[in-house]
C-alpha cells in the first residue's frame, strides 16, 4: 500500500501559489481581451459589408476548428519568424487565447443578438433610434442576460485551456506542478493537489455563476 505524504508538497506551496497567480493573470488577460475581440467579430459577422463579414467568418471558423495547442505552438514558435520579433510565452499565450476565446465569444454574442425578437428591433427603429443606440440601449442589455450562462461556461473553458501554456514554459499552475513533481519525487501528491486546486476554484466560479443566473431570472424582466 502506498503511503501518501503531502508534507513535501506543502513545504513548497509558495511555488504552486505563484503558479496559480500566473494562471489567474493569464485567464484575466485573455478573458478581457477575448470579450472585446468577440464583440467586434460578432458585429463584423453580422455586418452587411462583405469585406468585414468574410474575414470575421474566417477568423472565427479557423480558431474554433483547430486545436488550441496547435494555435499556441504556431503563435509561439511560428509567428516570431514572420514578424521577426521576440515572443515571450506570456505574449504568445495571451495572444492565442484572446483570439481563440474571442472566436467562441463571437458566436455567443451573435447568437444572443439574433435571438432578440424582431419586434424589439422594429419598435426601437419606430421611435427613431439609430443602429448604435438600438444596439446599446435595447438589444445588448437583453442579449447579455440571455448569453450569461454560455459566457460563464466559456470563461471556465478558458481557464482550463490556459494549462496548455505549461508546454511553452510559462510558469502557470500546471508548469509549477511539473517542476515540483520532479523536485520532490512526489508526482502523485503534487498532481492530486493541483487537480483539487483547479476543481475547487472552478467549482466556486460555477456555483456563483449559477447563483447570479437565478438572480437575473428572478428580477422578472425576462418575459415581455
Amino acid at each position: 500500500m502506498y503511503e501518501w505524504n503531502f508534507a513535501p508538497v506543502f513545504a513548497e506551496s509558495g511555488l504552486l501559489l505563484a503558479g496559480f497567480r500566473n494562471t489567474l493573470i493569464l485567464t484575466a488577460t485573455a478573458l478581457s481581451g477575448g470579450l472585446v475581440v468577440g464583440l467586434l467579430l460578432a458585429f463584423a459577422r453580422l455586418s452587411h459589408r462583405r469585406w468585414l463579414r468574410l474575414p470575421a467568418d474566417l477568423v472565427i471558423e479557423v480558431f474554433r476548428t483547430t486545436p488550441p495547442l496547435v494555435q499556441l505552438f504556431w503563435f509561439y514558435f511560428g509567428l516570431p519568424i514572420v514578424l521577426s520579433v521576440e515572443m515571450t510565452p506570456f505574449m504568445a499565450a495571451g495572444l492565442t487565447f484572446t483570439i481563440q476565446s474571442g472566436a467562441f465569444f463571437a458566436e455567443i454574442f451573435r447568437a444572443g443578438i439574433v435571438s432578440i425578437e424582431k419586434g424589439q428591433w422594429e419598435s426601437a427603429k419606430a421611435i427613431g433610434m439609430g443602429h448604435n443606440q438600438l444596439m446599446r440601449r435595447i438589444i445588448l442589455p437583453q442579449a447579455v442576460k440571455r448569453m450569461f450562462p454560455s459566457m460563464m461556461e466559456r470563461s471556465i473553458e478558458l481557464m482550463k485551456t490556459t494549462t496548455l501554456v505549461a508546454t511553452v514554459s510559462y510558469a502557470d499552475l500546471l508548469f509549477q506542478a511539473n517542476e515540483l513533481a520532479q523536485k520532490t519525487f512526489r508526482p502523485l501528491e503534487v498532481y492530486t493537489v493541483v487537480a483539487l486546486i483547479y476543481f475547487v476554484s472552478i467549482s466556486c466560479v460555477s456555483f456563483f455563476a449559477a447563483r447570479l443566473e437565478k438572480r437575473f431570472a428572478r428580477t422578472g424582466e425576462f418575459s415581455v
Binding site: 422594429e122 427603429k125 419606430a126 427613431g128
Partner: protein, 257 residues
C-alpha cells in the same frame, strides 16, 4: 382642402416575385382618421409599415407635411439614407400588434426612452413627460413596474403612450387589438377613440369593423394589390360599390347579429 399631412404617391412593394401592392396613392389630411381594411395577406400591414419605412418601398414617393422623404430617382425608385429614416420615424408614431415593449425597462422608462435617446432630453423632464402620457392612458400608477407585470391591454396602452410622447404628426396603428383577449380589447379601443376625438391624425389597420365605422372618417379597403375602394364609412361599409368589398363585409357579418 388643406395641405395633406401625409401624401403617398405611386407606392409599390413586392417581396421576391410576390407583388404586395403597386401604385398606391393616398392623401391624409390633418385630423383624418383612416381605417385600412382588407383580407389577411392583402398587404395592409405592409402598406402601413412602408409609411415609416420599416419596409422600404420599391417605388413611389412619401411626403410628410410637404417634405419629400429620401431621394426619389428618375426611375421612380427612392434611396433612403439612414439619417432620413430616423428623421421620418421621429415624426411618425407606431403601435404594433405585439406591443414590443422593452422588457428590461420600467413602464416609465419605456415611454421616456425615445425622449432621452432620440430627442436628447435630460432624464428629469423626460420622466415628467412620460408620467403625463401614462396619465392620459390611465396607467400612471404602473410607472415603475416592469412590462412583464402588465396585462396585454395595459401593455398596449403603454405602447401608445410611448408613441405619443414623441409628439408625432401622425399615428400608425398596426392591428393594435389583434393579440388581445376579447375582454381587453375595449380599454385599448377606448384610448384610440379618445385620441381620435382630440383630432389626432391616424392610420389604423384593424379587423374591428364596428370600431372602424365608429371612429374613422374614411375607410380604405385594400385588395388586388392596391386601394380597391375608399370613401366615408357609410359609403364603404354600408353601401359598398365593388364586389370584393361586398364579399369581405358579408364574410365578416356572417356571425354577427
Amino acid at each position: 382642402m388643406p395641405d395633406p399631412i401625409l401624401r403617398l404617391s405611386g407606392l409599390a412593394k413586392s417581396f421576391d416575385t410576390n407583388t404586395v401592392f403597386e401604385d398606391v396613392d393616398l392623401d391624409v389630411a390633418p385630423g383624418d382618421r383612416i381605417a385600412i381594411l382588407g383580407a389577411s395577406g392583402s398587404g395592409k400591414s405592409t402598406l402601413l409599415r412602408c409609411v415609416n419605412l420599416l419596409e422600404i418601398p420599391d417605388a413611389g414617393r412619401i411626403e410628410l407635411n410637404g417634405d419629400v422623404v429620401g431621394n426619389p430617382e428618375k426611375s421612380g425608385r427612392a434611396r433612403y439614407p439612414e439619417r432620413e429614416l430616423r428623421e421620418l420615424r421621429k415624426r411618425v408614431g407606431m403601435v404594433f400588434q405585439q406591443f414590443n415593449l422593452f422588457p428590461h425597462m420600467t413602464v416609465a422608462g419605456n415611454v421616456a426612452e425615445g425622449l432621452v435617446t432620440v430627442l436628447g432630453q435630460s432624464s428629469g423632464p423626460a420622466r415628467e413627460r412620460a408620467l403625463a402620457e401614462l396619465d392620459r392612458v390611465g396607467l400612471r400608477d404602473k410607472a415603475d413596474t416592469y412590462p412583464s407585470r402588465l396585462s396585454g391591454g395595459q401593455k398596449q396602452r403603454v405602447a401608445i403612450a410611448r408613441a405619443l410622447a414623441m409628439d408625432p404628426e401622425i399615428m400608425l396603428f398596426d392591428e393594435p387589438t389583434s393579440a388581445l383577449d376579447p375582454a381587453l380589447v375595449g380599454e385599448v379601443l377606448g384610448v384610440i377613440e379618445q385620441l381620435a376625438n382630440e383630432g389626432r391624425t391616424m392610420l389604423l389597420v384593424t379587423h374591428e369593423i364596428g370600431f372602424a365605422y365608429h371612429v374613422a372618417n374614411r375607410i380604405a379597403f385594400i385588395a388586388e394589390g392596391g386601394i380597391y375602394e375608399i370613401g366615408t364609412p357609410d359609403e364603404v361599409l354600408k353601401n359598398p360599390r365593388r364586389e370584393k368589398t361586398q364579399k369581405f363585409l358579408a364574410e365578416h357579418r356572417r356571425f354577427q347579429f
